[in-house]
Amino acid sequence: MSCCGSSPEYDDLDEVSKLVSAKLAGFLRTLRDAGFRVGLAEGQDAATLMSAGYVAKPGLLRAAFKHLFSARKSDWDRFDGLFDAFWLGKRVRSRSRTSGSTPGAGNPSLKSLQDRSAEQGGSHSVTDQLPSSDDAPEGRSGEGRMEGASRADNLADVDFRKLGDPAQVAQAHEAAAQLAKAMRTRLTRRDLARRRGYRLDLRRTIHRNISHGGVPISLVKRRRKDKPLRLVVLLDASGSMSMYTSVFLRFIHGVLDQFREAEALLFHTRLAYVSDAMKEKDAGRALDRLSIMAQGAGGGTKIGESLQTFNRWHAARVIHSRSCVMIVSDGYETGDAALLGREMAALHRRCRRIVWLNPMMAWQGYTPEARGIKAALPHVDLYAPANSLQSLRALEPYLARL
């Protein structure tokens, strides 16, 4: 089989000149630089193809290399440009040919966000409170225990928008990250407790009962599979939410770091897929990247359109039957509220639960009068306040039941 881990056998390439081998090596390097996962086995197979006569026909070689080196749709879309640039000296096309099913680089909404942030200089964050790399402390060890709790406790009931000095903001960020970690740990423990099997493992039962003449006296049960909950967070990064966005971003970073399956998207007038940016280990750097992606906030919130984009381009990939979608938003819809209702209904059909967190719910005298939230509420399983660490913590028992 070609895909063993051995190094390429260049002796086999007698008929391929050294020049071509060197060129191939250069191409492999180019692909790796462009983010393709190209290993030794692929290099070896590429050499085999070149010696099999493909080298004489550039069109065929390109098609063959495309199958060999691409591993996903984003690779597939970019490959031709890279090949032409390297082998034929053509300019690389800057945009991918298709967009849609693969979020990320090719996603139109994300692209527009990035473009806009680039136009604006891409320098600073959506909210003034967003920390730079220096002042956002990394969540400490703690193994799921709230070791920072003593410092965080006095912050527990403080509304995020009332956090004053940068030190308090940093403390809230750290506590939010630790809370995410603690939630993950406790949810895992519940998973383990639930995992007692209920189906018979006949093979082991028969093995064990041969001495009883095959009479199944001692039963062996199959272990139940650990099925992790997937959390999909949609965070409103519009102007009206700006006082809350930064702490939620930190919380989401913690969630993505701790949950085995989690995805995150930001929206305001557009939707942006940010899971990859959030998976950055360094919290400060992740938030810096996000702050750039979230630029453009303040213009209003088109929740309906954002959900439509989500349902159309992302839902099939990021949602499965054990998904909980968490929408963090005040529900002030500046677009079409009826569209929001329709898209919420479509989303509800796909996932296990929809949790809507509204920071303003905790405000005195608040009633859900906004058109957006009124349209969305019939499709929401849990509508809860989330304006303080305490309110985030209160969510945990609910998530554990999913």
Binding site: R37, A41, A63, A71, D75, R203, A316
Partner: protein
């Protein structure tokens, strides 16, 4: 196997109209002996590739449909417990009974084991691999690289022949890099009008070239509408068969029938409501 033109012809003869890229991918499968991973939207004809490949090779098609919770006993092998229990009862007291009941005689082959033990290499279709769990994917990785399996009671069973492996994925879950790297990759898109016309001609008896072209153009238009379920190639073929069955020769001659038979393409209530007679009329207007 031969070059891509011959492969494209052979596939066409078996009823699958492939583009040049796919023919190249299949010729590479033979040359490099790697599995082929086909990704793309539901309904673009990924599974059909494996079926056509089986016809081309005159080989058996062994299909493993993946689902959440699929485990080795459903995919690889299982013991025939009823027979084992009977044998244990019949030979009560015999010392060697354990060896006997865990022997080849009591082994039930499941698709993966069957695929590597056939004397003539079959086409192994691992359908919708993205629905299976991570653990199963990891197990598959081992099988696809070494083409051998370990059964605790029997030891290692090496492959008699290396099957032609086709994996399909709709992209509902991100596959591991390890699995992707093990495979050749091909992204299957909806066919363009020209290819879809040829598909209709090849697969639907009684389809004329002009009607096939009209149908392909109409379907292309429908796919551009905002739909929950975009119609795939199978739906196109159903619709073509329905139109021909209703004796439609030209779409413009029977706009009402066209609209009514769109149920072959539109599979949800919302989509059906969205494509009103006016929309059908507009789409028909674009079909020359």
């Amino acid at each position: 196997m031969k070059g891509r033109d011959e492969i494209a012809q052979a596939l066409a003869a078996s009823g699958y109209i492939a583009d040049a890229d796919l023919a190249t991918a299949i010729s590479l499968m033979q040359l490099l002996r790697r599995p082929l991973l086909l990704e793309g939207e539901a309904g673009v004809g990924k599974t059909e590739v494996a079926k056509a490949l089986a016809k081309v090779h005159a080989a058996e098609l062994i299909r493993l449909q993946c689902y959440e919770g699929l485990d080795q006993s459903s995919a690889l092998y299982e013991w025939n417990y009823q027979r084992q229990l009977l044998a244990i009862q019949a030979h009560r007291g015999s010392d060697s009974i354990e060896d006997q009941v865990f022997s080849e005689k009591y082994l039930l082959e499941r698709p993966l084991l069957a695929a590597i033990r056939r004397p003539q290499a079959p086409v192994l279709l691992i359908d919708e691999i993205d629905r299976a769990d991570d653990e199963f994917e990891a197990f598959l990785l081992e099988l696809l690289s070494d083409f051998q399996v370990s059964i605790p009671e029997l030891g290692t069973i090496p492959a008699v022949t290396i099957p032609h492996v086709v994996l399909t994925s709709n992209g509902t879950r991100e596959l591991s890099d390890a699995l992707r790297r093990r495979c050749l990759y091909h992204y299957v898109d909806y066919p363009d009008v020209d290819r879809e016309t040829r598909i209709i001609l090849a697969r639907v008896t009684g389809a004329s070239p002009s009607l096939s072209l009209q149908i392909a153009r109409m379907v292309e238009g429908v796919r551009k509408e905002e739909l929950r379920k975009v119609p795939g190639v199978a739906e196109t073929l159903d619709w073509a068969a329905a139109l021909i069955g209703l004796d439609v020769r030209d779409l413009h001659d029977a706009p009402e029938t066209v609209h009514e038979t769109l149920i072959c393409l539109l599979k949800t209530h919302e989509d059906r409501a969205r494509v009103t007679p006016e929309v059908t009329q507009r789409l028909l207007g674009k079909v020359a």
